[in-house]
């Protein structure tokens, strides 16, 4: 299976662990991610707050650059996924915007036929296209005993309705059940991580982060699994500041779902980018996996 791949800016540096583990897992599952040549930033939420048409054109450049023989584009970042998918949909639904975006693209010698590329999030590809049977086959190190809290965030499950619920998504839950983990059914798994509010109103952003961490703690999770660099950054990098702000004492490791999938597939922690998280996942991993080794 072959997909066009749009890593997005975060994957280059901040979310290097996500990128590393994604590549490792992709190889192990036997699917090929062909990086879109010379892709540009998706504009995040900021560009759309300023100029919708220009933002759409900036996003559409990436769609236009997808190799003609490929018609599915995989994005690991929630914001990138949504911007790409939403722009494609907007162009399909709105003839005026479609025409203008294409006129803008033409200034760069490009064109894009709305609907040509199906934009998908990485989780969806792993969950749907590989499915339970094949993934179970590949598990060499069951995650039994580990209590994981899948965290979906917002923009992969909303507003574009896929096969999963927009309120109470289950795909990552199921994936980790296949891997043997104990999945924590906590209520805030599709609530907001604070997004870019960290830049706008810290008290507000910290409160949103606290709610997520608190709920995971209440449900006795060993770690939170992320599927978006922004969510990971907010929950991980700001965790110490949240503790400072509220006087709490969270030590909740925040890792990418691909990292833990890689663990289950038998890869070494290092190749999966462990150690890059600010709140280390190693104690939890060691405790649980060692426990099992002794059994």
């Amino acid at each position: 299976m072959k997909y066009a791949y749009y890593p997005g800016c975060s994957m280059e540096c901040n979310a290097a662990a996500y990128e590393m583990s994604t590549q490792v897992v992709a190889r192990a599952l036997g699917f090929k991610l062909v990086e879109v040549d010379d892709w540009n930033c998706c504009g995040a939420t900021e560009f759309f707050s300023q100029d919708e048409l220009t933002a759409s054109a900036v996003v559409a450049r990436n769609l236009a650059l997808v190799a003609p023989e490929l018609n599915q584009l995989v994005a690991p970042c929630a914001a990138c996924y949504l911007n790409l998918a939403k722009t494609d949909r907007l162009m399909q639904d709105n003839a005026t915007i479609n025409a203008k975006v294409n006129e803008a693209l033409a200034a760069g010698g490009l064109k894009y036929k709305a609907g040509r590329v199906r934009v998908r999030h990485l989780l969806d590809v792993i969950y749907q296209d590989f499915g339970e049977e094949r993934i179970r086959e590949k598990v060499v190190r069951s995650l039994e005993g580990l209590r994981v809290a899948p965290y979906y965030g917002c923009q992969v499950v909303r507003p574009i309705k896929g096969d999963d619920s927009t309120e109470y998504p289950l795909h990552m839950d199921e994936l980790f059940k296949w891997l043997g983990a104990e999945v924590v059914d906590y209520p805030v798994k599709a609530h907001c991580c604070g997004g870019h509010m960290t830049q706008i109103s810290e008290p507000q952003a910290f409160e949103l982060i606290r709610r997520l961490l608190q709920s995971a703690v209440d449900y006795e999770a060993d770690m939170i699994l992320c599927m978006c660099p922004m969510c990971q950054l907010n929950l991980d990098a700001y965790q110490s500041r949240v503790n400072g702000f509220f006087g709490t004492n969270f030590r909740m490791p925040i890792v990418y779902f691909t990292q833990m999938l890689g663990v289950a597939l038998g890869f070494e922690l290092k190749e999966l980018g462990f150690g890059k998280e600010l709140v280390s996942a190693e104690p939890a991993l060691r405790a649980k996996l060692a426990q099992r080794a002794s059994v």
């Binding site: 930033c41 975006v101 507003p159 309120e167 600010l278």
Partner: protein, 190 residues
Amino acid sequence: MGAHSEGNHGSAFLREVIADTPGGERIVHCLQCGSCGGSCPSGADMQYTPRTIFAMINANQRDAVLSANTMWYCVSCYLCMTRCPQNIPITDVMYALKRLAIAEGKARGTDAPALAKTFTDILEKYGRSFELGLASRYYLLNRPMAMMKMGPMGLSMFTRGRMALLPTKIKNLDQLQAIIKKARELGEAS
């Protein structure tokens, strides 16, 4: 198409917002149920809840709406939008209001426009986002004091190889800039 959506009905501001939002014509169906304001993670901090904003739009309170903090507290989580019993694209309306507020210089008491501006400047210059550049430029220009608090976290990030010192530039920057230029022209023309 029909008399209700094409004619001169509804407040002038309502028509303006509808024209600026894809799917915006659903606004007229608002039941004032408040499931948006109830769902919003920032609901408690908003000056007006989205529902109130719709009532204000209907009442043509243009200035009050555009200088409200509501849209700047929108985190784009889309919970309100998927829960709205009338399928109003609430998050998209917030984007439209942000654009109008920036265009009219009404965005007061928030750094969000500045952040957005910094972000787009970097995008235009390099084609990719650049976190260190974004953070330092934005904080230096807008919030020098806050920069201090960010220090330790930035350092941790840096030591774990999660913060780049130099931006990545895309190869065909000319092409991107040409597209942006053309798009801006088209936007202004309409």
